[in-house]
Amino acid sequence: MKNLDTEKHIKGKSLFIDDFPTPDGTLILDVFYSSVAHAKIVSVDYSEAEKLDGVKKIITAGDIIGENQIGGIIHDETLLAENEVTYIGEPIAIIAAKDKRTAHKAKSLINIKYEELPVITDPKEACEKGELIIPPRIFSCGDIYNTWDCCDYIFEDTVETGGQEHLYLETQGSIAIPVEGKKIKIISSTQGPTYVQKAVSKVLNIPMHFVEVDVLRLGGAFGGKEDQATAFGAMAGLAAYILQRPAKLVLNRHDDLVITGKRHPYISDYKIGLNKEGKILAYEVSYYQNSGACADLSTPILDRSLFHATNSYSIPNVKSTGYCCRTNLAPNTAFRGFGGPQAMFVIEAAIHKAAEEMGIDVEEIQKKNLVSEKDVTHYGQVLNNCNAQKCFNQTTDLYNYNQLKLDVKKFNSENDQYKKGIAIMPICFGISFTNSFLNQGSALIHIYTDGSVQISAAAVEMGQGVNQKLRLIAANVFSIPVELITVESTNTTRVANTSPTAASSGADLNGNAVFIACNNLLDRLINRAAEILNITDPKLISIKNGTVYISGEKTDLAWNGLIEQAYFNRVNLSSQALYTTPEIYFDKETNKGNPFAYHVYGTAVITSKVDCVRGIYNIESVKLVHDFGKSIDPVVDKGQTEGAVVQGLGWLTIEEIAHNVNGKLLSDTLSTYKVPDIYFAPDEIEIEFLEDSENRFGPLNSKAIGEPPFMYGIGGYFSIINAIKSFNPKLEINYSAPITPEKVLMSLYGK
């Protein structure tokens, strides 16, 4: 199974935005942005910068032809700030110059005066001051208030999770090329080509069919280019359009870190009630989401937190409340898991605390409360094909959890300097955009006269292997070698009105669309083959391994021959199809419905080791059983799982986003923001594919993979906590992530 993308990557031949050959005279853009977190702009003096040799123009809000507005869901985000800035990094002007160096230099010559206003960085403070982006959202079931009295144990606490920088290795960027007749073409590193198209059309005040957006591939995204690539596409578009010259904007790493939003930090208050046996009876939780200065995708992200408030557990009485708190930080945005991980961390912390206080094992509570078939979630969805218990039990059996636990105990009793910890992390993650209308995928397929096949779809390739999956689906339907099939760039002129490639759904939605389109073509081809072979019942005809069969008997008619003949008989060799996920709906008033096509399940066991002299640690192993459905490409799916696990571990351990009280990002370079390297990654990640998992919503019975395994990382956090506890049993745990070496050392020697 030749993966064409991989082959190019390995030779360094894959083009990313900064690699595209650009026409002579292409202008290089740079973004001038706010250096204070909240202020009125008193004056900006561009004269020195404009005088610099090689500067073509400095574009400001006043130059915007159409609307100065790029907010996707809520229209609260300008492309370029006019009178007020609300976070450090907020774009104010675009410098167009002959080269990078000139543009950068010009930036330093701009003289701006601010009148500073109060800065809020803390979500709870924002909430108290009424700075909410939308009214609070509440998802609930049962009756918590009358349940507390029935509980044998009640625990309350506040827990925190930090932000996370996407650190896609390719920074944000776009190239814009003016096209005759007032049209424009944008080559963008975006997960949402249509978002870019819309924004450019709005900013330039031209209809959408004047804007072509093309996306070849992304050097990583993880959610960071779902909404936030739009601004840079629009900036490049604006500059190219105004100046009628090609323009390229590629952020340098520092600017990317400062300007773009990250995973939302959360502060959460919970109250959990259990009976003596460890059954959770009631759970009340409030999430204070640090949304940053604009809405961006914060509102659906908050919703997903509310959906995943109970992770894999069935809790009869739940009240979860979410607050989108507007602060003076860069607008936080989508990041793998989309609010799910933040919520799951809270329930796991609650269970951990309950187990500690009740003196029982965490896994006992986890196991006792796992969801099962036909359970109804607190948002009203009935769980079908629920594999939570299967995964949990298989994990503890396959990896012999009891023995692992004994090994850890033994190690700890024999060692002073090092302590180990072990934790289990079950996951349950809903698949579908929770905004139901987004659940559509489309594909356009051409078969050329030589039998080669070309797929265009709404899905964007960003390393998740969606192109390869689409090829495999088409190869499967046609039963032809995958080598005959290519996937083209995602282009709004070939596939219109694309949903962003996000929510782990790219392969599902577009794979199903490819499936439909291929089957349409196959029907036509089979009919044609029947005619050629003089068979009256086309049902007897099939194609296998590139050859036509009649009732299982091989014929001389091969794929290429069939296609050629079909062409001469004027058969339509192109097909376009739309797939929409069936049976999903959600009522945003009652917050009940059937929002997800299905759920993904799995369970991991994580072991870590803490050096109690130095406060450093490593994650030794992650062993898991995961529900992949029927994997279309096990190499891709395994890779997604491994990558997600390590990214999840990074979020909870060493990846620390630091701001000062003035809203300045302190971790604004790669020397101060550390993501996992090869030594940090666990020595061992063992992955078992759950057997016999069916999924009628996934193409070829597969399941979505991008996000769910990220949340296994949460177990890494608790394994470290458990190791610390065995060194310092008296420690009162402050459940706050990331658990940096600093926090570990302070906890080892704290009270």
């Binding site: 991989t6 390995i10 290795l169 390719e170 002073d416 990214q647 302190l666 020397s671 390297d677 940090f680």
Partner: protein
């Protein structure tokens, strides 16, 4: 400030008019359109820009992986540069094939960097050991794969492919490195002659560039407009031994120290210490003098050399000076050096006693220390004859713990004296809160690292419980 520079890139002689204060990455990508080499950070922290540099020395080319984003063109003059484009053949080579089979490339942005790091490793070794191969990519960040697939590819490479020793010819025959490599030497010799003629004029300029790994992170714009002297292009790149003294030339790189077999005899754990310092690509460029002069309070080399009680030999047009390293650091980034002073040598006595280096950072590898510390101790029958303790990240300068050393000298090694030493050391430090940790943390961590020294030195006598 353009200058004509000659070098060989892959199989081509490149002669360009270029500002020597720009970096190799820009030459490759912007001028030569070799876009397989990627820019991920421009600060040495991601490895996407990794290329291989071959330097002619004593009639041989020595290859090593470097970060082209911080590699000054001035240092690239007269060298051979290998990029991903230069090692590609029609089919995938064995490394590439393994990456392919294991799915070790997802988005692909990091991949050329990994391939180049691995290729450099093949070129600089004649045998493959799994751990060492892993270390060769420790300076390459991948955000997609989680590294498992990359480790599998490396494992396959080591077990299946070249488990025995191999030569350049073998690599060429297997298509792992291009077949034009053997001819490069002669071609470089002819260029190098031109360089040495020019080196005189280079000397007259004033901003000194060593490896550039600090300067090109801090002030790349200034360098573009400055006259520069590339001292790594000249000599002073030797490690010499005279009697019981070691002389480190100022342009000696971290990696040269790490791999010096002579020094390893005196510092058996050196490999481990240096693995914690920067990444291989940076260690291949960063010079020891650069580390001292940048005067970072957490400078790894400074901290190590302080605990060896090193001296430095400085020269300028008028004179040569020698003084103790500990007298060089005056205040934050302030040195007891004149503007035109050049460090020539760093000198220290080879140790009789025990030496240890400790470093803790947020991420264990390729991260700047929160706190680091080194200690040298020489004792006779449990009585301390000589002790030097240093600490980084706990003061505005790399700190020599004078009072703690004075206290412990002549004392017996026991629990009480160690605790007292740590107490005294604590009075000498003044950590501040910053992005690498709070002052409280650094204070606690520093004490812990001092304990770690003693636990390592005296595992029999001193137990962890003694020092709690």
């Amino acid at each position: 400030m353009q200058r004509k520079i000659s070098l060989i890139v892959n199989n081509e002689l490149v002669e360009v008019e270029v500002n020597p204060g720009s970096v190799l990455l820009d030459l490759l990508r912007d001028t030569l359109k070799l876009t397989g080499t990627k820019e991920g950070c421009r600060e040495g922290d991601c490895g996407a820009c990794t290329v291989i540099v071959g330097k002619l020395k004593n009639g041989k080319i020595k290859y090593r992986a470097i970060n082209s984003c911080l590699y000054p063109i001035g240092n690239a003059a007269g060298k051979h540069i290998l990029t991903i484009e230069g090692i590609n053949t029609d089919s995938l080579n064995k490394i590439q094939k393994l990456f392919y089979d294991e799915g070790a490339s997802q988005c692909g942005f990091c991949t050329p960097g990994f391939i180049m790091s691995l290729t450099a490793h093949l070129l600089t070794h004649n045998k493959l050991m799994y751990d060492e191969v892993v270390n060769s990519v420790a300076g390459n960040i991948c955000r997609c794969t989680g590294y498992s697939s990359i480790k599998r590819a490396i494992k396959e490479l080591t077990t299946e492919f070249v488990s025995n020793s191999y030569e350049l010819d073998d690599l060429i025959n297997k298509g792992l490195v291009p077949d034009y490599l053997p001819g490069i030497k002669e071609r470089l010799i002819s260029i190098n002659e031109l360089i040495s003629e020019r080196s005189e004029c280079l000397q007259k300029h004033h901003k000194i560039i060593g490896g550039g790994t600090d300067l090109f992170v801090q002030t790349p714009e200034e360098l573009f407009e400055h006259d520069l002297t590339f001292i790594s292009q000249n000599d002073m790149c030797e490690i010499n031994f005279k009697g019981n003294r070691c002389f480190l030339g100022s342009t000696v790189t971290f990696e040269m120290i790490k791999t010096s077999t002579e020094l390893q005899q005196y510092f058996p754990m050196m490999d481990d210490y240096f693995k914690l310092v920067a990444s291989l690509q940076i260690r291949n460029s960063a010079t020891i003098a650069g580390n001292i002069v940048n005067a970072s309070p957490i400078g790894g080399m400074s901290v190590i050399l302080l605990a060896l009680n090193a001296s430095i030999i400085i020269s300028n047009k008028e004179e040569k000076k020698v003084f103790h390293l500990k007298d060089l650091f005056l205040d934050y980034k302030k040195l007891n050096m004149e503007k035109d002073d050049i460090i020539e040598w760093i000198v220290f006595n080879l140790p009789n006693g025990k030496f240890n280096f400790e470093k803790v950072s947020k991420r264990r590898h390729l991260d700047i220390a929160s706190v680091n510390s080194a200690m040298y101790i020489d004792d006779e029958e449990g009585i301390v004859k000589t002790v030097y303790i240093s600490g980084g990240g706990v003061a505005p300068i790399p700190l020599f713990l004078k009072r703690a050393c004075e206290f412990l000298t002549g004392k017996e090694i026991n629990k009480e004296n160690i605790i007292r030493t740590i107490e005294i050391a604590e009075t000498e430090i003044s950590p501040i809160s910053d992005v690498r940790g709070s002052a409280d943390y650094k204070r606690l961590l520093f004490k812990q690292l001092l304990k770690a020294h003693f636990l390592k030195f005296y595992p029999q006598q001193i137990k962890m419980g003694d020092l709690l």
